[in-house]
């Protein structure tokens, strides 16, 4: 019998090599206790969490927890069914109402994860002989949506309006086109020039979908995302998002004003052919979304924290992926895999958790230590993180290696 897993032998050897070097497995972290949105116990050690995407710190919000507890008691642990069969409860409808109010849009559809929302929307909107035009740095869920559908897939250079224009110009004018953009690109933490990109897409009669997974909660006057801050709400046809970042639980969604939107519930396979979210999860999400509408102070604090971390790392000599803090993601550029792993390991041993990112998840083959900031981080926690980054760099000889 051919071993079907033999094709992964290279990766298995690489991963094993990493671990025999005596460092902790960056992909095997276990949170033994979670103390708050910003702190957990990992291997018995008190650890500051700086890689959770829990931007607005809603995971332990008392109102959110209470809503979840009530729904768990009243509606049970799960729906055991699809949204289009037995899996739509009152809680799911209330969650969709909360989304419609948050985004001021006519329609909302809740998926079981953000990944499935992109998978479903991208694969369903553009069909055979139509085109998906996507940014080169798009998230895996968008690429996978392309792979699942039947459209022709055209990729433009990251955040380049000029390149998007060039590629749209080459397509047949009459063909259906879906331009897929993200408000915040989560690897480098850079934001998209949505004003320019949307203008070009609309000039070529394309439908525009924007993924605001990493922008919801703190960009724009109502926290709708980068597209709101950029003032292009009237040019965006579909907004996709997630509950697993600012909202603080799990799930995905799409909102839109398209008059025929509701038919998607029957034709979008990642929506139809899976079980719906547990009632407690959507109840948590609905409460959290409604609270996020009024979280102006939290937003402000999140930006303060972000500036503090970005400026502090820069002042300590670290190379960052963006010149200024563009989002609540601050990515530290690393020279190579070995140094990245050693830096990451030194940080976790000192009680700081960040994400380690490497190709092919990262663009242009870069190695990153990715920090995502929470509105609930205290200034003294950020100062501790900065000090430990400097200590870790000294311990691993980072600046020597980079010089």
């Amino acid at each position: 019998m051919t071993d079907l897993l033999a094709k992964f032998d290279g990766l298995i050897a690489e991963h094993a090599g990493l671990l025999t070097a005596g460092v902790r497995d960056p992909f095997g972290i276990v949170m033994e206790k979670v103390l708050s949105p910003t702190e957990a116990i990992i291997k018995g050690q008190h650890t500051i969490l700086l890689g959770t995407y829990n931007y607005m710190g809603m995971t332990f919000d008392p109102d959110v927890i209470a809503a979840g507890e009530t729904a768990l008691r009243d509606f049970g642990a799960g729906t055991t069914g699809s949204r289009v069969l037995n899996g739509t409860y009152q809680t799911h409808k209330e969650c969709e109402e909360a989304l419609k109010d948050f985004y001021a849009m006519d329609h909302a559809m809740v998926f079981s994860t953000g990944y499935q929302a992109n998978l479903g929307m991208v694969s369903t909107l553009a069909g055979k002989n139509e085109f998906v035009i996507l940014d080169a740095d798009s998230h895996a869920s968008i690429y996978d949506g392309c792979a699942m559908g039947n459209a022709d897939i055209v990729r433009f250079r990251h955040n380049s309006a000029e390149d998007l224009e060039k590629r749209l110009r080459r397509l047949p004018p009459e063909a259906g086109k879906l331009v897929v953009l993200e408000g915040v690109y989560s690897m480098l933490g850079d934001i998209a020039p949505l004003k320019d990109l949307c203008a070009i897409a609309k000039a070529h009669d394309a439908t525009v979908l924007v993924d605001e997974a990493h922008g919801m909660g703190f960009f724009g006057e109502h926290g709708r995302g980068v597209y709101e801050a950029a003032g292009v709400a009237d040019q965006v046809d579909f907004v996709v998002g997630t509950f697993s970042k600012s909202v603080g639980t799990v799930g995905g969604f799409c909102v839109s004003n398209h008059p025929k939107f509701e038919i998607l519930r029957l034709v979008c396979r990642p929506y139809t052919f899976t079980a719906s979210l547990p009632p407690a999860v959507v109840a948590c999400a609905a409460t959290s979304i409604r609270k996020l509408m009024h979280s102006h102070n939290k937003r402000q604090h999140l930006w303060e924290n972000t500036r503090l971390l970005h400026g502090g790392l820069k002042a300590r000599g670290f190379r960052l992926a963006t010149e200024t803090p563009e989002s609540a993601i601050v990515s530290v550029l690393m020279p190579d895999q070995e140094t990245t792993v050693r830096m990451w390991s030194a940080l976790i041993e000192m009680g700081v958790y960040v994400n380690m990112s490497r190709p092919p998840a990262t663009p242009a083959g870069v190695f990153l230590l990715r920090c995502s900031i929470c509105a609930e981080h205290r200034a003294d926690q950020i100062e501790t993180v900065l000090a430990r980054f400097a200590d870790a760099a000294a311990a691993t000889g980072l600046f020597r290696a980079a010089a």
Partner: protein, 80 residues
């Protein structure tokens, strides 16, 4: 030199900078197998090829384009 020959020659020039392993390039050289290119590098190469001939080469074509010769054939067809 026919059009196909010119295209093939130019593709070799576009590939040279990403041929980190220094693999000898021929019609039958494969991108994933012989050159060990990852998918991102291949997609960046496609963008350069699209711009060189002002064509659209959708990413969903890529699974059928394993060798340099197959890419040259595809470009020759698309660039007409």
């Amino acid at each position: 030199m026919t059009n196909r020959d010119a295209i093939y020659a130019r593709i070799l020039e576009l590939i040279e900078p990403i041929n980190a392993k220094g693999v000898p390039l021929a019609e039958g050289t494969t991108f994933a197998g012989d050159m060990e290119l990852d998918s991102l590098t291949v997609m960046d190469l496609v963008a350069n090829i699209e711009d060189e001939w002002d064509i659209v080469m959708p990413l969903n074509m890529l699974p059928d384009l394993e060798t340099i010769g197959q890419v040259a054939d595809a470009v020759a067809k698309l660039a007409k």
